[in-house]
Structures are given as C-alpha cells and as structure tokens.
Symmetry: D2
Subunit: 504 residues, 4 copies
C-alpha cells in the first residue's frame, strides 16, 4: 500500500502506475542525489529550529548516507511501485530504521516543494556545465579568428553572394551571439537559484520552519517567498530555460546550415573532418555531414519541447496539478540535446578544413563587389546614390547578358552607360575600377565599428577576449560556491553521523 | 571500421557516434523484428528475379532466423558502434557466414528505403492495435449509454450550466467523435500500407528488382512508386499520423477535463474510482484525479511531437537528409502515449461512479431551463423569439436579485413583466411554467435528429452499434491478413532453411 | 444594449468589446454571405415544418436579400457593437422589419450551431478552390515532365551529390506527393460537408425542427447528429484541415528549398524568372529568390497556426467555450497562405529556366555514379556487394587524394586495389568502367517500378494523367453540385419574396 | 519599375507583389514614424562625418517632416507597389525633391539594418507600455490585498480542496509572478536597446560612418557591433520577447482559469462583473466569462506565434534571408494581444465580487484542514509524521463512509483508531480537534517566510510596495529618456529645416 493510502479502499490500478510513473521514475535518476541532499538539509533545519530530535536526525542522515553510497555503487534501483524518487527514498529509510524514526523525514514538507528543490539543484548544475561548454565553443571560434583575419570569403544573403567578408569576421559574429546566450543564462541563474523549500503543498506548513537555514546550507541566492507562487510557478523556469535553449539551438542550427551548405561539392568552401561525417551503406563515394544535419533537426526538437512545456502549463488553474510532472521530460531531454549539440559544433569547427583559395575565388566573382562601384560613380560623377545604384545595376545586367563578370568591366562601358542613362560625362580609369572591386580592399575599407576590416575584427577580438575572461571567472566562482556548500554539508552530515555512532 | 568507411581516413569521433546513434539505437528495438522480416523478403525477391543465388539466400535466411531467435530470447543487443539496426543485423550475418555470403544481403537496397519499410510494418501493426483500443473505449461508453438514457444532468457551456441533457447523451457524443477518429485511421492505413522497398537511396537501383514480389509477400496494398518521392516523403506519414493522434488526444483530453471538473468537490457529479486516483504525501484527505490530469498533459506532448516532426521536415530539400532520423522518436513516443491514454480513459469511464441525485439536482437549478420559457411565452403571448428572450432574461435578473431560482417563478411575475415591457396581457398558469421548466420534460422534448431525448439517443445507439460491428470486423480482417502473410513468409523461410540443411 | 442583455444590469465594457470582437468581426467578412444563406435555409425549414408563418418567412427573406445586395455593393459594414456577423445580420433585419417579425429569425438555433454552419459552407468552397489550384500546379509539373525526361541531373542526399536522375523524375515525385494531398482533401471534405445546424446551443432545441431539410437545401452529404458532439467538435475539423495544409506546405517548402539552393550561383542548376525574384536596395547585382524564401517561411506559419488551433482546443471541457472563436483566425489566415503559396510555386515552376548543361556536367562529376562500379566489380570479380562497396570506397579515396574524378579511373587501378585488398585477380577494361559510370546509362538502367529511366517515367506520367483527369472531374462535380444548390435556393428565395410582394 | 531594378529585364509579377508585401505593408504602419526618425538620424550622421552635404540634408529632413505631418493627418498611404515602408518613404522623398537630392537618403545603409532599427525603436516603446500595464495590474492586485488579508478561502491542488489560504495570499502570489515578468522585460530591454544601424546589408559599409552618433541621437544604451551578427540575429530578440510574452500569458491564463472556475455556479467563490461577461443569443439566463475564456485562448496564440517565429529562424544560414520578414506578424500580433489581455485581467480583477461567505464555508468543509490533525496526533501521541498521516487518512475514510465531515470528528474516534492501528493510548479533547481544524487558525499558524498568515502577507505586501515603487520609477526614467531624445532630435531637425528655409 502507498504511504498516502490511509483513506483509500483500493490499490492503484497497475495501468495507472505504469501510465503515471514509468517515464518519470527513469527521469528521476537524475534527481536522486539532489533529493537526498535536499532531505538532509531539510532535516538539519528541522533539528535546528527544534522540531526534530537530534537522535532522530542522526539516524535519518546515516541512512541517507548509506543510500547515497548504494546508489553511487549502482546497487539501488528506483521502483515504480513507490511512484517517484521521493517515496522511494522515504521507503528505503523507513525500511531501514522503522516508521517511528524514518517516518519523521517528510515532516513539514510536501512532494510539491521537494521536487522543485530537486529540480533547481539539478538545473543550476546543468546551467554551469552548459555555460562551460558554450565558453569552450566560443574559444574554438576565437582560435579560428586569430588565423583567419585575412581569409577573404563571400557573405551570402538569400543564398546569393552579397559582399566580401573574412572567415574571422564570420567567427566573431558567432562569438557575439553566444556571449548573449551566456548573458541570458546568467540572468535565469539568479531566478532559479532561490529556495522553494518550505512552500509545502501549496500554503506553507503549520510548523515554525526557518527557510533561510536551508537557503544558506544550499548556497541559494535567496528565497522564492509566496508559497502559492512557488508551487504555481513550476514549469515557468523550465519554459524560460527552454526558450533560451531554443535560441542557442537556432545559433547552432545556423552554423550547421552554413557548414552543410559550404561543404556541398558546389560551394566547396570548407571540408568537414572525416571524424565528423559518415558514409552511405550503398553509395561508396558518400561523405555526409550527418552530425551537422542532426544539430539542425534537434533544434526543432527543442523548439517542440518548449511548445510542450508551455502547452502543458497553459490553461491550468493556480496551485499544483499533476500535469506539471510532464514538464520534466522536455526539460531533461533538452538539456542532453543542448550539451551534445554544443560539443558537436565545437568539434566540427575545431577540425574543419578551410578552402582559402575557393573562398577567395568566390569573393572575386559573381559581382560580389558591385556595391563598391556605386561609391566610385558617386565620387567621379557627382551623382546620387540611387542614380549610381541604378547605373551599376544596368551594367551588371549588360555584363551578365554577355556572360562576363565584374572583372571584365571597362571604364568605357561605364562612361557610355552614364552618358546614355543620365546624359552626363564622367572620367574614370580601368585602374579605378579594379581598386574599387578588389574584394580584399573592399573588406579593408569597412573599418567602422563592427565592420569586417582586419583592424576592426582584431579590435573586437581583443575586446571579447576580456569579456570572455570575466564571464569564465564568474562561472568558476559560481561552481566553486556550490561545490563548497556541498562539501560543508557533507562534512556536517559526517560529523552528525559519527556523533550518532559514538553514542551507540 | 564502419562498413561504408572505404573512402574515409579517420574513424568516426566517439562524440558523433553518441550524438547520432544513442537515442536511435534504443528506438530501433521496436524495429529489429521488422528489419529481419524485410531483409528476408528482400533477399527472397532478389533470388526470385535471379540476382541472388539460392545457396546464398538460404544461408542468409538461416542466419537471420538465428538472430530472430536470439533477439526474442533476449540474447542479442544492438550496439551503438554499428550505428543502427540495419548495420547491426548485417554485422551479425557477416560475422556468422562471412562477407562473401553475408555481404550480399544489402545488395540493391539502401538504408533509406529499408528504414521506411521497417517503419511502415511497425506503424501498421500499431495502428491496428490502437484501433482495437479505441473500439474498446467506444464499447465502454456504449455500455454506459444503456444504463443512463434517463440520467438527467446539466450540459455546460463556458463552465456555466446551459441546458439539461442525459449522461447517455454525453457518452454518445464521445462515441461519435471516436468513430470519426477510427475513420481517419482507416484512411491513413491505406496510404501507409504501400511498399517503399526498391526506392534505394533516392533513385531506385540498377538491378532488375521486382517490387511487386515484396509487396505481395508483405501484404501491402500497393507500391509507392517514384523513388525520389518515397525517400522525400519520409516524415509525411508520421506528420499525418501525429495529427490524427493529436485530434484523438484532444478528445481524450476533453473527457479528462470533464472528469476532473465533475469530480471536484464543488461539482460532485461523479466520483472516480480509488484505483484511478492517488493521494498526497502530506495531506491525508486528498484523493486526486492524477491519471486524468496526465492524459490532459500528455495531449500537449503529442501536439508538441507533431510540431517537432513538422519542424524537422520543413525547410529540407528533396531527397534524404539525416534530419529524418529525428522523426523516429516523436512517432514512437506518441504511439506509446496514445495507447496508454486510451487505456486509462477506458479504465476511468468503466469504473466511474455517477452521482445521479446530484446530477438531477443541478439540472433543476441555476435557471438551466430558462430557454424553455421562451417557447411558452411565444405561444401564450404570441410574441417573437427575440422579445420573449429579452423578457425571460429580465425575469431571470429579477429572480437572481431576490435570491430565487427558476422554480420560484410565478405566472403573475411573468404576466406583470410582459405588461411592463411590451404592454401586452397574457394568460399563463403556474402549472404551464412547471411543465416548461421541468428538466426531464425538456430533455424529452428534444427528439429531433441528434437531440438528447431518450428515444433519439436510443435510435443513435442502435445505429452506432451496427457501425461499430462493421468496423470491428474490418480491423479484424486487416489484422488477419497481416498475420497470415507473416505466417506464410515464416513457412517459406523455414522451408528454404531446411532445404539448406538438407544439402549440407 | 445587446439582444441578450435581459438579465444584465451593466453594458459590456468597451475594452471587452474590443478584446472579444475586434479581430473576429474582420474575419467575419468572409462569412457574412454564408450566414445569410444559412439563415434563409433555416427559416425556410422552420416554415416547412410549421413553426414559422409564411408571411413572416417572406419578410425575413426579403430583408436578407436586401442585405445581401447591400453587402455585395460594399454598402454594409459589420459593427463591433453588435459583436459578430450573426448579431449584425439580426440587427439589420430587426431594424428593417421590427422585432415582432425579425425577432423570429433566430428561433430554434443558437450562434453555436450557426457559426459552425457558416464555417463549413466557407471551408467547403475554399477546399474546392485549393483543390483546383493544386491541380493546376500538378499540371505545371506534368508539362515539365514531357520536355525533360532526358534532362539528366544529380539527385542529392545530405546536400551531397548522390546519383543521377532526370528533371522529369524530380517533377513526377512532386506530382505524386500532391496527388496524395488531394486525396487527403477529398477525405476531409466528406467529414466537413455534413449539417451541423439543429445542434442549437449544445443540446438541440425544443422545437420539432427537421435537420434533413436544411441538409438537402445546402447539398450536405449528411448530418453530424449528436448535438453535443457537433458543438464540442468545433476546432476538430480545423485541426485536421490545418494538418493537411501543413503537409502541403512542407511539400511546397521542399520545392522552394530546392529552387533556392539550385539557383544559388554555386549550384546554378536553374534560374528563376526575373518576375519571381527581387533586388536589393543597396547591392545592385542582387537577384534574390524572395518569393521562394517566403513560401519556406510561411510553411512555418501554418505549422504554428496548427499548434495554436490544437493548443486552444486542448484542455477545454465538452460543450461550447468562447475559446473556440480564436480558431477562426488560424483557419482563415492559413487558407490565404495556402492559396497564395500554391500559386507562387506554380508561377516559379512554370517560368523557371533549366540549365541543362550545368545539370549534365554535375551529373558527370563528384563520383556520382560510383555505386555503379560496385555492380561491375561484383560481376567481373565475383565478389560480394559489401566487399565491392569497400573497394570502390577505397578507389574513391585514392582518386580524391590525387585530385582526380571518377572519369580518371583506370582499369589497372581497380585491378591493383582488388589485388591488394582481397588478393584476387580480375580482368576489367577502361571501356567497362566508362559504360558503368556514364550518368545517362545509369539512369536508363533503373527501369523497375518507380525508377528514373525514361521509359518508366513516361509510364508513370501516362498513369498519373488518367488519375488527374478523374480527380479533376470529381472536383468539378462537387463544385457544380454546390453551385446548383445555391442557384435553386436563390430561385426559391426569389419566388417567396415575389409572393410576398404580390400579396402586398 | 522598382528602385533596385537596374539589372532586371522584367517587372515583378503582381502575384509576387501581393504574396510578398500585402500583409507586410499593413504591419509597416506601426513602423513608418520610426522609419522617418531613423532616416533623419542616419542622414544627420552622414552630414556630421562629412559624407552628406548640409544643403542636401536639410532638403531631405524638410521632406521627411512633411511626410510625417501627412501621415499623422491620415493623408499618406503605404502602397504595395513600392514593397515596404522604406521604399515608400524614399519614393515620397525622391518624388518631392528629385533623385539627385532624395537619392542620397539611402546612402551607406541597407533595408536590412534599417528595418532592424525601426523594429527596435518600435519594440522598446511597446515594452515600456507593456511594463506600465503590468504595473497597473500589479497595483490592482495590491489593492485587493489590503482588504482581504482575513478573507479565508480554500487553496486547490488537482482541482481538489487542499488547504486554507486567504484571498490576499492568492493576490500576492500573482504580484510576485508579475514582478518576475517585469524583471525579464528589464533584461531584454538592455539587449534590444542597442544600435543596429551601420550593419548595412550584412558586412557594414564602405563609408566612414560613425555608429556612435546615431546611437547617441536615439538614446541607445550601446551598439550591437559585428555587422553579420546584427543581420543574422534578426528574429532572435523577437523569439526572446515572445518567450517572455508566453510566460506572461501563462500567468494571465492561470488567473483566467481560476476566475472561470470560481465563477461557475458550483464553485461560486466569485462573481465577475456584468461589464466583463456576455450573454447567449438563445439562453436568456446565461452570463458567461467570455473575456476570461479569450485570455486563456489567446495565450495559446502567443505560444503558437513563438513557435512560428522560432520555426522561421531555424534552419536558415547566416546572413539575411527574406524569411525574416515573416517574424514581423507574430511580433506585432503578440504585442497587441499582450496589451489587450493585461488590460482585460486588470479590469476583471478590479471589478470582481468576492463571495466571502462561500469562501469561508468551503474552507470549513471537505476535510481541508485534515493535515492539521497530523500535528495534533504527533504531539499528543508521540508518533511519527508518517504514522500520523496514515491514521488521519483512515479517519477521513471512515468519516466519508459515514457521510460526515471533519467537523464531526470526535476525540473518541481518534483515540479508538490509534488504539486499533498502533495499539497506543493517547488523550485528546474535542476542543483540541476544533482548534486544530479551524481554517482561520490554520492560516494564522503559517507565519514562516512566504506563508499565508495575515502577518506574513502584510510583511510581503510592504516589501513589494517598495519594489514596485522602484521599478515604476525605473520605467518612468526610461520613458523620459526616450522622450527627451526624440524631442531633442525634433528640435534639431526643425532648426536644420528652418536654416534651409532661411537660405532659400
């Protein structure tokens, strides 16, 4: 019989057990250590405020410690019959030390606030890890920047060649995007790292608990106060986190799409490493960018998990509803996807081979620097931007119709076209044209803030270097603080346990 | 080294193996039997058209048979190192009988058409099973109809009491909805039950295969012809199926919402069985409709899986892209959810306790039959519908302000109000009013097609009984045909294997 | 004051009017004609069964006719103050002919069943139109098939060249996909084309209406019977339709992605017509595939509208809830998107320029026919498929490392590799190789069902021609039947009106 | 002909114009003022760095000023033929002052960075407004707190009565949730309020622009630097904003669900004001919570718009793609929905009638304080929590079976049950029980941080009062700064224009 079954006259249908707990109990593997820690802390607090006797506390802690060791040794399994991790842990303790003692463990809390505690401890560790993985990816891009500030390549809009940039400039764009993602993670961390314990089922508890004790022991930054708000907001942080993940995945997806496209035979701007591609069971020539394709596909999964999460919350009344449980899967699956995807993209970028010749060659064709001619015409012909744009457009049209490229453009053609279009005479040399349309010169000209010139890219590089250093340290601090609090707790628990043993 | 690694100079990164195959290989457990069957059939066809020697065929079949037995005995595990179920199976065969023989197995097909074959064989079995589960649920509702055609209760709109119906009428509404769902499953079944094998990687194969042989052996209804279409349409049938599932889940979700609401203490129209509810770890009085809540939440999961599936497809070019693989999870998780959810709702409806007294009492209060007075006023007063509506509205307003219910309405009040509103005199008796507003009489009056009167409900019941019989038989036929084709195939395979043994 | 305001003591807050009706009243423009028709039919039925006097009917019909003319002349505007199209129409009628007569119009129905009627009449017309637009698109593809059964091009998997096909084969793949879409539209049409009128608010009506009369007058295929089911299933058909639309959009999106990719300078397989591309405000050389990009983006919008629609339904109890209204937008916006997108893709395909030389050239490079060598090696060397696959893989690796293509492969290289790999001697000629790897020959070899050979493509072409003819006629019939029913109704209405005038 | 049509030989197909611009040009109405401001600022900067002559600048500014006046007077309409707001504005200017002068306006920028500028100016104003509306809603809740800290009511979990709270406590929970939403808006504001102008099409421009000038003139907090990142990140801020909106909507939706449920006749805890409800066209007694239902439904719309937005971005390569345009609708529609929904909920809460008697009565029944007995049993019986929980569960079961409520519980029953269950004798009085289960006493006992006791609620109330004051001022500052920058700009523009006039 379930521990809550006092008022029930029938056992839970097996079908219901399976339906309500099968996936959940598997997911709970990620929570059990946090559940034990949370229970230790809760019971220490109960003791400090005088609700729980020291002897009882010590026995409970000792049994929890035993369980932790069993779990870490792979000798404990969560059972579906006991519903969830919380009841599995309580069952273990009661079985060991009896209901008289073990039955005190759950006093003054509910599974509703307990699971929130477990989830937050779990999430904050995962955020720290994801933070580090993204930092690593940023550093991979930064390394590429150093070596490629002169690697000219085309930038595309609408899948069409637009203007020349450098590969370093492309890398820096992603660095900036990921720095924003880290800022978002920093912001949500503050909100997640608050203490939910003490909210009870929905309305707090009738015992004089002290929520600041558990807050301190677990290194929380604060307390989420209103009990009803604590319980009702389950899923809110998950939504927020999955939204941040979705944005991260669109960044990773964008990079993957670039890599897939650029490693096509037709683009051929890069070659992915053999270790990050796979072959075909039937076509022996194939070398496919499978990993990149899966990053792209998995981005859609996270977007879908976000939809699931928001959909589950939407329409619920305030308070706890069992529906909340179903937000656990979307959260945990998404965390795994994010970590794998960041690593995969790091690996691909780190090992990618850049075809510099092909890049330059494409930056030198397809009229990619036509915009530069506008400037030339404006200066030489004293004509407006829009007029110059139209004339260059016409010139491009003529060249294409003759199957020629921009490099074939002659000064006489320009002079003629201007004469015919706006009846103006200008003087221009072939050398003027070549200087204007040279892709490297074009890149170098763009040295305003955020431009692709070598100088500006290196300035941004240096600036971001400092930012990265700062946020790396911040995350290190954060991790250290959590680690230290767990170590202190462990020390405290061991002291209490040994007190108990001494007494025995 | 992977079987396709001829042109590669490096092994796949472990990270990539994990990222691309970890979840997939787990899902493939549901496909391995189908993969073996498909390989048997493919090789038999190759032999029949003269591409594969009989001796080779028999050895392959014998090894596949061995594998099948191992799998069913739980003695074979899919390994992530061999990527997917297809390569795991080939690896097993080649390890057993050598590459010279086993290396013929994959001739004239690709994993691209092979996985489509596996998926369709899997899906069609699942559709048949889901069909049966929904039929069972329909029958559960039909049983309730028989006993409740006189169980008067309120129907709600906007969470407000609207008009009286019967519980049988409510059940019949769900019967009709689920019959539509079964029609949709019938329609998609025809499209799914077509042969994709022979499409190869994307453009068919250069061998003179005969796709009608494999079609016949596997009891397909036809061939999906154009090879490029076959490969490109991966995910299309999944989208369609998940859309049907989403609709089914909104039906189940609607029922669950009704059950949750009606079993609230305040509504108290029904009581869920103890076996389909759970308690609280802290509040001893609690009996919560968790199973129903999870049906509601899981509906959102399937809607999210549909989004994932469509999102993954959207934006891909024609042909095969690895992204397709990620549609496998949404499909398989959704199938499990649907089956579990239908069973849970069946269980809840089968065991629910109906509070008939409370139902009738609520159907007798809250002005639920006010609409009926309109009719009375129109007849007695010779006034238009809209005018009568306004007058009844006013009367309701007056009664509410005096804290009275419709049963307290007196003929004099009506007469007065009509006099004051439109300066008309009408004659009406208290008895007229009571006849009009009686909920059972109201229900009985509604005997047009689709109305809640006992007569009409029983007519619909009888009609649906026939429809259910017909579609039950249809699904039985379908299942039998599949079963027979598998039995014939098994017989054929065993004959060929024993031929081989005889020769040895 | 609102017509339902009898029991209310305050007017609706302006904010509420705006919030509840602003978008809705705009959308209702698409429904007003159907609302008038539905009202005509409902009142004719009421008269036939003896509930409504003929004189009243005729006056109502005459006023509705007047309104229809005003609307069509652009002289009538829906007002937010009267909430929705239904109340706007009733208001007009009552203002014209008084509440005594016009106030009878809404008798024995509710806005709940009325809006379902309007929506179904609207949807079935739209389905017919979309059906025709897709048929037109199919025909555009069919025309391209005729001229391109010898236009060899590469087929891609993973954005990498896979095997040679023809442009005609690519077109035929889309023809088959769209034929499936039409089948789905046919299936849903049957379900949508059933009569909801008579379901009333939720439980039918207390008047002896005859729902088969309205069914016949409106050319419905049947009646959706159970009143509660009728009302509760609002949004179900929309979900189903949006799911079909989502699938259609993934088809259109796939084509668009191909077109965008192939019209990139690097692929250069096709050129989109100037009329279906746009330029840049700053880069004069640009010619961008904007229309195709928007098809791709709008596909995501429909997927999102489907999510909205399902999300709105999910979690609602049975019966009517105002939430339903919000499904109107997703439906109507999606219909507009679908129609525009099909037309745009038709236009792009019709006008696209195919670069046959480039297609052939790409089908002749990048080892695209390497698979064909497997066959050769198997025959000549009597080796298994998997062994041959590995050897060809190695050969490809060697050629790439030497910067050579498949055309540079010499028989001696093969012989040597086989010798070294499996210590076997085989004889092969350079001519054998050339025959094997020739892309046109490769295509022609694939003549099994669904293969890209000219013969098989033309067989499929002919077969689909017949199917298209058949479904075209089916849709024509459907449209004609609807048209005829409206004409008969109009005739009937005019007769009744003129009767009225005669009498006056 | 389009201004970019130099290289084109055909005009854009009308179909394409309609498909690409019809919805967009309507949405652009919200941007035109920002587009004019952005153009003013851009041209002033060009002049300051010496690229644009002062005479030209003044003419452009003067014409833009004229356009602004026309627009505000409703005398200018955006035309689909000129594609978008940017080209419409340029067209107007060139038409007025000629291409020679007006054709300079678009120099050194692209529509790609221009639209980003327009959107950010638009969004930041909207965020400020939404911020204020949410503050107003928070204040509405705060007012209710003052009057209801003793209004005892049941809190629900699983739609079942759980424990007693107060209405003030429920209000405070929402206050805390909305304060978090405001924090999120503050965080995104910083990211959005950065200058994108100068990113050009994708790679900056070849002119020596100074992006800090435009930053200062527009009161931006900084510059989003890397040009490629600026362009590629279109849609990122929209995703983030829509995610925040989705969370806000789940808060509003939760409140709406509570209001709908509680205003059902069966719960009857509250009554919505007549002005925030509507009636039925057929059922005269109906008073429906339509506005609340629509908040609930519209929440799903925003979740769907978020999906659309993310889906559109996902899979795109870096750089600009026309797909981005389709994110404009989801953004703008969502902003309108959010503003409307916050106002509606404010209105409903402000006017809601609280049925205090019913609240107290429900807080006094349904075993809602059973948890309190555990405490009593633990103290009196010296038994563990879990044992006490089981015994109370049993007592509840017995009472229910006898159709009794908790108030009927006698000390003797407890003593007996304990005796029978665990063979223990305890002493307890009926008075002990009544003290324990009194709902008001229960509430008052819960005075730890975040509990519902009057004392703690008032402490939180006071604390939040300060926080609200602080963030209100912050938003006021923000709005003032933006306002001042616009005023300074307007002054500057007018000075320049009058200079021009003076010279003329």
């Amino acid at each position: 019989m379930k521990p809550w079954s006092g008022r029930f006259s029938k056992e839970t249908d097996k079908l219901v057990e399976e339906y309500t707990a099968a996936e959940d109990i598997t997911l709970d593997k990620k929570l059990i250590i946090y559940d034990i820690i949370g229970t230790e802390v809760h019971n220490i607090m109960l003791n400090r405020v005088g609700i729980l006797e020291t002897a009882t506390l010590n026995k409970i802690l000792s049994t929890l410690d035993e369980l932790k060791n069993l779990w870490e040794a792979g000798k404990f399994a969560l059972k579906i019959d006991y519903e969830d991790v919380h009841m599995n842990v309580e069952k273990f303790v009661i079985d060991k030390i009896g209901e008289e003692t073990g039955g005190m463990m759950h006093l003054a809390r509910s599974r509703n606030d307990q699971v929130l505690l477990d989830l937050r401890l779990y999430i904050r560790d995962e955020i720290c890890e994801i933070f580090d993985l993204i930092l690593e990816l940023i550093n991979v891009f930064m390394e590429k920047v150093e070596k490629n500030s002169e690697t000219v390549m085309p930038a595309y809009t609408h899948f069409q060649p637009a203007q020349p940039i450098t590969f370093a400039f492309w890398c820096m764009a992603h660095v900036d995007a990921f720095i924003r993602d880290l800022t978002r993670l920093n912001e949500i961390f503050k909100r997640i790292n608050t203490n939910p314990l003490g909210a009870g089922a929905i309305a707090g508890v009738s015992w004089s608990i002290d929520r600041s004790i558990t807050m301190d022991l677990l290194n929380f930054d604060g307390i989420q106060e209103n009990a009803l708000d604590v319980i009702s907001s389950r899923g809110e942080f998950t939504s927020e986190l999955l939204a941040i993940f979705s944005i991260i995945m669109t960044h990773l997806g964008k990079i993957s799409t670039d890599l897939i496209l650029w490693s096509s035979k037709e683009f051929n701007l890069i070659e992915l490493d053999d270790a990050f591609t796979t072959g075909s069971s039937i076509m022996p020539q194939k070398k496919n960018p499978d990993a990149a394709e899966l990053v792209r596909a998995k981005a859609n999964k996270i977007i879908g998990y976000l939809s699931q999460n928001l959909g589950i919350l939407q329409g619920l009344p305030s308070g706890y509803n069992r529906d909340f449980q179903e937000t656990k899967g979307p959260l945990m699956y998404s965390i795994d996807i994010i970590k794998g995807s960041v690593k995969i993209v790091s690996g691909m970028i780190k090992t990618v081979k850049i075809n510099k010749d092909r890049m330059l060659s494409l930056a030198n064709s397809n009229f990619i620097t036509a915009t530069e001619l506008i400037d030339l015409l404006m200066k030489k012909g004293n004509i407006s931007f829009r007029t110059a744009h139209k004339i260059v457009g016409k010139l491009v049209g003529v060249l294409i119709s003759k199957d020629l490229d921009l490099n074939n453009l002659k000064a006489t053609m320009i002079e003629e076209t201007i004469k015919n279009s706006i009846n103006k005479e200008i003087e221009i040399t072939d050398d003027d044209i070549q200087k204007a349309i040279n892709p490297w010169k074009t890149v170098q000209r763009r040295e305003h803030i955020g431009g692709p010139s070598k100088k500006e890219v290196l300035r941004m590089y240096k600036d971001r270097k400092n930012i990265i250093k700062e946020i790396t340290e911040k995350n290190l601090d954060r991790k250290n603080n959590i680690k230290k609090s767990y170590e202190s707790l462990e020390k405290l628990v061991q002291t209490l346990i040994s007190n108990k043993k001494t007494k025995e």
